[in-house]
Amino acid sequence: MASTAQPERVDVRTGQPVAPHVLRKWLRKFSKSYTGRVVVQGLFTIWAVTTITFFLIRLMPGNPLDIKIDQLQRTQGLSYQEARARAAGLFGFDPDQPIFEQYVVYVGRLIQGDLGQSITSGGISVSSEILQFLPWTLFSVGLGLLVSFGLGILIGLAMAYWRGGILDNVMTVVSSILYGIPDYIIPLLLIIVVGIQWGLFSPGEMRGGIDPTLTPGFTPEYIGSLFKFALLPVTTYVLASIGGWVLTMKSSTISTLGEDYINVAKARGLSERRILIGYVGRNAMLPLVTRLAISIGFVVGGSVIVEELFQYPGIGRNLLRAINARDYTTMQGMFLVITIAVILSNVGADLLFGLLDPRVRLGGEGDDT
């Protein structure tokens, strides 16, 4: 798709005759195109994070391997060689190899999706642990973001349309406050004020991801319980992110309302409703759609404390558990997965923006906008 985007611009820029080799030609076009730049940058970031994590864990003073060897020697009375061999098995690499070879082996395994074995829960691979916890986070974060995005768009649109009204004044204050306070304040307030002081729900019962007595299946009780236990994290994500959506949508709508094509649409005698939905809403949403993709990544990253406070069995809480238990392979694997999720959503946002707004895709010419 990208290779056909702008064939003549590449030639103008490089000023060189077209390379004879088809693959090389395609590669050059790809790396010069918008899509190519975004994808290459994403891949570079993933590589950089993987490499930094690898060397951080192995080369730091008092690194996890030494700690584990020492621990095995003390607790199980193993000799240094035995402890070293076992620790190496747990971490999934051979410590006698030179560091560069270890790195090559590590990257090779990573590409195959092998993140090693969990140190604390023996015999379980890190990837299966991640597969177990990731759906919870994706479910709660995805639901929370969709709800807050939808609500934020509607409220922001209404605020801009009836500017200066009661809704506008009240919601501006509320959104500014929600935007200004740190997001981990919200779950704490939910538990203390709504749960304990007002007694609207019992925080102790709402811990966990689902009622453990239910058997999994597509039964109404099971799905109902799924939503019931997700209610608190989802509410938190909604409250934490809605302020930003409302304020951005409001200012975006106000600037769209002043555009010439809105006046033209009014002059053509189109109905208010049609102008609001088809002309204002669609264009005002443009900057927000890409922010949605970016914020998916950030909310996944920020889910640690929300999941910890509600004891929700997602990846954030288990990352924290792995860190507290000094389970470095799990920690490394989960951190990589979260980072890759964030990078992918960033790349997705960039590509989506290019798709929705052709000015971006065409490169630097549109700087005056």
């Binding site: 203390i192 304990i196 990253g301 640690v304 404390i305 990352l319 860190i323 507290n324 964030v342």
Partner: protein, 395 residues
């Protein structure tokens, strides 16, 4: 403890009393009583708070304001009170000094007016001032309770937690200690660490951004790639993982770490500004007129960026405080009491979250952190107005 202590001391009080005489004497000389008394109070308070470090800048600023009320600029008969026959461009060194002080003072007065113009921003400013004053002067009046107070156990109560009462307005914590004393004593290190981290991040961003924008080439590419990398990696998991690998028990180390994570956004903005300013006509005109590097930077380039830098510095302070409190609440940095974050973290460990009579003990630090962060965000609105050259020239 980073840098200087900000606990009010008797020595600082005496320093403040002595230094405050300078603006007071200036005011008596010019018969500007109200400005003089206000300046004296400001000097005493700031000297009280930080000794010479706080006292001397405030003495200069207060004197400048007092002088600006009375000063008649004899070089400028149009906007000052000078009569036409008084106009005189010859000036002694003393008159030059007075003119500089007066212009500094009038800038300060204009800043004060701009500050009050945006209501939300002014509320934010007052809020920040409130927390700073409470943290600095509060310890004089409220003694810190570090030891468990078992004798305060209510008959029949299962824990030492207590809700608010007349004697303890914010209740008691799990060891029966006064929560108010922890609030008053617990903000200082948090605020100072965040401010140090914010200043550091801003300095890194300005230097690297200017370097990348001016030098271009390889420097630009390296720093841009680095900033891109840091911007994409999710901060919270990164911090948590780092806290698991490194022992983060030192405030200075934490401030440096937050600064190292917070500079990229501002650096990119500054780089873009420098690139765009380089092409502007008025900058080219100034270069063509050979006005000198210092003049170009301070008069043409800097005023266009200072609003952005100031606002971003506040956001970076806010992000540092956010990160610090987050790490503390999760129990990943072993910090000591008294500290707002440690109060929440310890309260959670001691079961305060699910104990109705312990709510006050948790709500107090939560409110303090949330309000401080909110005030920082609100304050940026005033900063935008203060530093916006277009708005300021309208005065």
């Amino acid at each position: 403890m980073i840098g200087f202590s900000t606990v009010a001391t008797t020595g600082g009080f005496i320093i403040g009393l002595a230094l405050g005489l300078i603006p007071l004497a200036t005011a008596i000389h010019y018969r500007k009583w109200r400005a003089g008394i206000l300046g004296y109070i400001a000097c005493v308070l700031s000297g009280f708070a930080c000794g010479f470090i706080g006292g001397i800048p405030v003495v200069i600023l207060a004197s400048a304001v007092v002088i600006s009320y009375a000063y008649i600029n004899r070089q400028d008969p149009f906007t000052s009170l000078a009569r036409l026959d008084e106009v005189d461009f010859e000036e002694t060194r003393r008159e030059f000094f007075m003119r500089q002080m007066a212009s500094l003072g009038s800038v300060l007065r204009a800043t004060g007016r701009m500050l009050q113009r945006n209501k939300a921003g002014f509320i934010g400013f007052l809020g920040i001032l409130f927390f700073v004053i409470v943290s600095v002067f509060g310890p004089l009046f409220i003694k810190y309770e570090g030891q468990p107070q078992f004798q305060r156990r209510q008959p029949g109560a299962t824990s030492l937690f207590q809700g608010p009462s007349a004697q303890f307005p914010l209740g008691l914590d799990w060891q029966g200690r006064d929560v108010l004393s922890h609030i008053v004593h617990g903000g200082q290190k948090l605020i100072i660490t965040s401010v140090v981290a914010g200043l550091l991040a801003t300095a890194i961003a300005v230097i690297l951004g200017a370097a990348a924008g001016l030098l271009g080439g390889l420097v630009d590419q390296v720093f841009s790639a680095l900033s891109n990398l840091l911007l994409t990696v999710p901060q919270t998991p990164l911090l948590i993982v780092l806290a698991g690998l490194i022992r983060l028990d030192n405030y200075l180390l934490l401030a440096v770490l937050f600064a190292a994570l917070n500079w990229p956004a501002l650096m990119r903005a500054i780089r873009a500004q420098v690139l765009s300013l380089r092409e502007r006509e008025y900058v080219e005109a100034a270069i063509a007129l050979d006005l000198g590097m210092w003049h170009i930077i301070s008069r043409e380039v800097f005023p266009n960026m200072v609003s952005y830098i100031a606002v971003n510095m506040i956001f970076s302070i806010r992000a540092s405080m956010y990160n610090l409190v987050l790490l503390v609440i999760l129990g990943l940095v072993p910090l000591t009491e008294p500290d707002w974050g440690v109060m929440i973290s310890m309260g959670r460990q001691q079961g305060a979250l699910f104990n109705p009579s312990a709510s006050a003990m948790l709500l107090a630090p939560i409110a303090a952190i949330a309000l401080f962060q909110l005030c920082l965000v609100l304050f940026t609105r005033s900063l935008e107005e203060i530093f916006n050259p277009r708005l300021r020239s309208g005065l």
